[in-house]
């Protein structure tokens, strides 16, 4: 089966981020999106630890560990960027001031429920960070994930079996096979990887799709 690679997925997400948007990119796969935002668009990146106007990683040797992103990696600040404390940073999320957040996920349900903080495994040490605040706070929540698990099970499900992060918060899903909108009428296919048929896609998707 033909699949988009991680960079292609990131480029596809970046295409949907409009000029002027204020965006938070989650840890992991979503971080790649920053590298693909078209240069003619001005996008302001928010980092939960108190940055607006976050720039790319500094050149080797120029790292300053007082200036890091949510993944604790050194970053830079663009002209016009600023710093603020944690309560303000999360007021920006919860208060609906971010246009888009892009998050990874274990599962997304047909109703847009998101599970991305805990696998539910009994021996796992739980950690939530800012995931729950981001998921319900941004005007639009995009999820970026592999379509299936390593074992081949669909990560798009009728109902989440992993503990949820937020109810009905996901607006669009980007996988390595397809782009899918969460609508009140269910999951709607926006596009899919070349060479894949709708029936093939539906077979590896754990909830009904419409076109």
């Amino acid at each position: 089966m033909n699949r988009w690679n991680r960079e292609q997925m990131a480029r596809r997400v970046a295409r949907d981020i409009p000029d002027g948007a204020i965006v938070n990119l989650g840890i992991g796969l979503p971080t790649l999106v920053a590298n693909h935002i078209p240069t003619d668009r001005e996008v302001i990146l928010h980092s939960e630890n108190g940055v607006l106007g976050m720039g790319p990683a500094p050149p080797a040797g120029e790292e300053d560990y007082d200036l890091i992103n949510a993944g604790k990696q050194p970053v830079t600040l663009l002209p016009g960027g600023c710093f603020f404390h944690h309560a303000d940073s999360f007021a920006m999320m919860r208060g609906g001031h971010l246009d888009i957040c892009v998050l990874g996920a274990f599962q997304v349900s047909a109703a847009g429920d998101l599970a991305n903080w805990h696998t539910g495994a009994a021996d796992a040490i739980p950690a939530v960070g800012g995931a729950m605040d981001l998921a319900i706070g941004a005007k639009r929540t995009f999820v970026m994930m592999e379509h299936t698990t390593k074992a081949g099970k669909s990560k798009i499900v009728a109902a989440c079996t992993c503990p949820i992060t937020g109810i009905g918060c996901v607006s669009r899903i980007y996988t390595d096979l397809a782009v899918i909108d969460v609508t009140p009428a269910g999951l709607r296919l926006i596009e899919m990887v070349a060479g894949l048929s709708f029936d093939d896609l539906q077979r590896v998707t754990g909830a009904p799709l419409t076109i």
């Binding site: 560990y65 404390h85 944690h86 729950m132 319900i136």
Partner: protein, 233 residues
């Protein structure tokens, strides 16, 4: 005369008692007041409840406090990290209590304590395992969870510059929880790299007004990645 400058981290923390709730600033290692934590370890107090975003990285700072078995309970949002081995070991052995709080709720609960708020309804966590057992309410069609303020006996925070009234400025993302933890604690202790005369801090740029701060300790700037600076500024 008001003079909040303490002579040393040990002097600034001399009255921390067993069983105290201690907030510690920092997100990862940015803004983590390592010298104050070292003084807390040397002080010997135990049965502490610690409030921090994480649960220690590597072997220094907060991780060392945990390893020294001084912490009964930790309230944080993101304990599990690649280098949180001391917490992981204590947690799996049932030797530390964890209260896991979504990061924005953690920040707002701290802020609420400092602002005299008795509780607040937040949409974050509604319908999830982290809201289990908590009071909920639907307001204008949206679900909210009642969260309580987190008060502390002490806050240990890392700032950049301060004066004898306790006014503080910070450095980049080392600010993180510092300003709100200073508000929420009965005694806020700030480490700074520079103590300046009254009036030297631009009043338009003071981030934490001095009334939120009880003690200020000057710490030499260490030129290490973990201390924030790659080279002398």
């Amino acid at each position: 005369m008001i003079n909040k400058i303490a002579g040393s981290p040990a002097a600034a923390l001399a009255d921390v008692h067993d069983g105290a709730t201690v907030m510690i600033g920092g997100f990862g290692t940015a803004g983590l007041p390592n010298e104050l934590i070292d003084a807390l370890i040397a002080h010997g107090c135990r049965d502490l409840t610690i409030v921090n975003n994480n649960a220690g990285n590597g072997d220094a700072g907060l991780a060392a406090l945990l390893a020294a078995r001084r912490v009964r309970k930790i309230i944080c949002s993101f304990p599990r990290q690649a280098d949180s081995h001391h917490f992981d070991r204590l947690y799996r052995a049932g030797q530390i209590e964890l209260e896991l709080v979504p990061q924005g709720n953690l920040a707002e609960r701290i802020r609420a304590a400092g602002a005299g708020i008795g509780g607040f309804f937040t949409p974050t966590g509604y319908g999830t395992d982290l809201a289990k057992g908590k009071e909920t309410r639907v307001i204008d069609g949206r679900g909210y969870v009642l969260e309580a303020p987190i008060h502390a006996d002490f806050a240990l925070i890392k700032a950049e510059r301060g004066d004898r009234w306790g006014n503080l400025t910070y450095r980049m993302t080392a600010r993180n929880f510092g300003p709100i933890m200073a508000m929420a604690a009965r005694v806020a202790v700030a480490s700074v790299h520079e103590v300046v005369e009254l009036g030297e801090l631009d009043p338009e740029a003071v981030v934490t007004p001095g009334l939120f701060v009880q003690r200020v300790v000057r710490i030499e700037r260490a030129i290490t990645p973990a201390a924030g600076l790659r080279r002398a500024a």
